[in-house]
Symmetry: C2
Subunit: 211 residues, 2 copies
Amino acid sequence: MADQTQKKPSRIQQRNRRKILDAALDVFSAHGFRGATLDQIAEQAGLSKPNILYYFDGKEEIHVTLLSQLMETWLDPLIELDPQGDPLTEILAYVQRKLEMSRDLPRESRLFANEILQGAPRMDPHLRADLKPLFDARCGVIQAWMDAGKLAQVDPRHLIFSIWATTQHYADFQAQIEVLLEGQEPTDTAAQFLQSMFRNLLTPGQNTSPA
Amino acid sequence: MADQTQKKPSRIQQRNRRKILDAALDVFSAHGFRGATLDQIAEQAGLSKPNILYYFDGKEEIHVTLLSQLMETWLDPLIELDPQGDPLTEILAYVQRKLEMSRDLPRESRLFANEILQGAPRMDPHLRADLKPLFDARCGVIQAWMDAGKLAQVDPRHLIFSIWATTQHYADFQAQIEVLLEGQEPTDTAAQFLQSMFRNLLTPGQNTSPA
DNA sequence: CTTGTTTTTGACCATTTGGTAAATACACGA
DNA sequence: TCGTGTATTTACCAAATGGTCAAAAACAAG
């Protein structure tokens, strides 16, 4: 038995588990959980199907493992948002980081999007336990910045949603964007656009009057 | 045979085809193409599986039919963007219409998102044939507005992307939003936020200097 | 080399799933 | 009421798929 529950995993175990997870990320992100097959993952990983089931208890466990790892990566930029830093700088840096993640980790973005699209059947607990508290905390920080007059007053929750939406869009809807932009690399121009959009939105005292 | 290719479809045929497509929209939007099963669709439609295959040639054809219908619905708001109208008003109205579609047609939004996420295997031709020309045309209109000084200068392509991203986000990531907003209806507050964000971005002569 | 352990495989299995065929029930105009 | 085309169901099938298992192979240590 692989004995994953305790003690040191062997060199070969680590290597193969990583190969499997990487292959699974490919397949799950491209086809969703139900659309992915163990055979596809096996082929992509260069291992036999039974061999994969030697390292993981089943399809489900592979998926769950990926989602858990993903959650950390995903929360990280929001964690790094520094309440002590300059508000506008911090938020624009957050936008930039998220955009870079879309460019560098599109598979992860799509894995996440797939999961949420399907109603977050496996991730819901994670969202409540990990994301929600962080989200509330960061909304509090942003609200405080606004109350202190350092940022224009907008709804912090929707601000965060709009950052997620606009940045992740470049990974999740890549197929569409490639058609519309005819294959041009969008990251640079997107960065310019998003930076100016959010700077504009958040720079205090410049807002158009709401009526 | 149902003889769908020619002549008048009977009352009962229309009714059943509609029931099937509605059920399929439920199932496909919730589980993606491969994740959906004919049995689920059949149950949801209140018909037997063979009966469904009496009206449609197969799973694929149901999906394709849905996507075709969807394309029209989806392009409609962009078509209605009036080059003769007031630029800012037109674009803000477009944002509003898209947001309302996310609220009123979340299944359609998710069906679309699923398809694009998987690389648009079935919709790619539609995107090139229908969406791309319209997209280019509208980018041209917006660019002209900007050149005429009626809107602030931003990249029209990314402007449209950001409108799509932010509005569709409320349908596609509903599961996440419900967790974070604890079930509050987000549409009203989202509308306020998005209106002010895009008004701010596009109102000429108010932009923060880009360096 | 020998022995004990880890890793890999080939052969299977049960279930699910898209799809078919033939028989049956039904609607409806003559 | 009958007959005819339409609609629906019952009973299947073949392929795909997640998963099992025992045995073989590979490997590490003495």
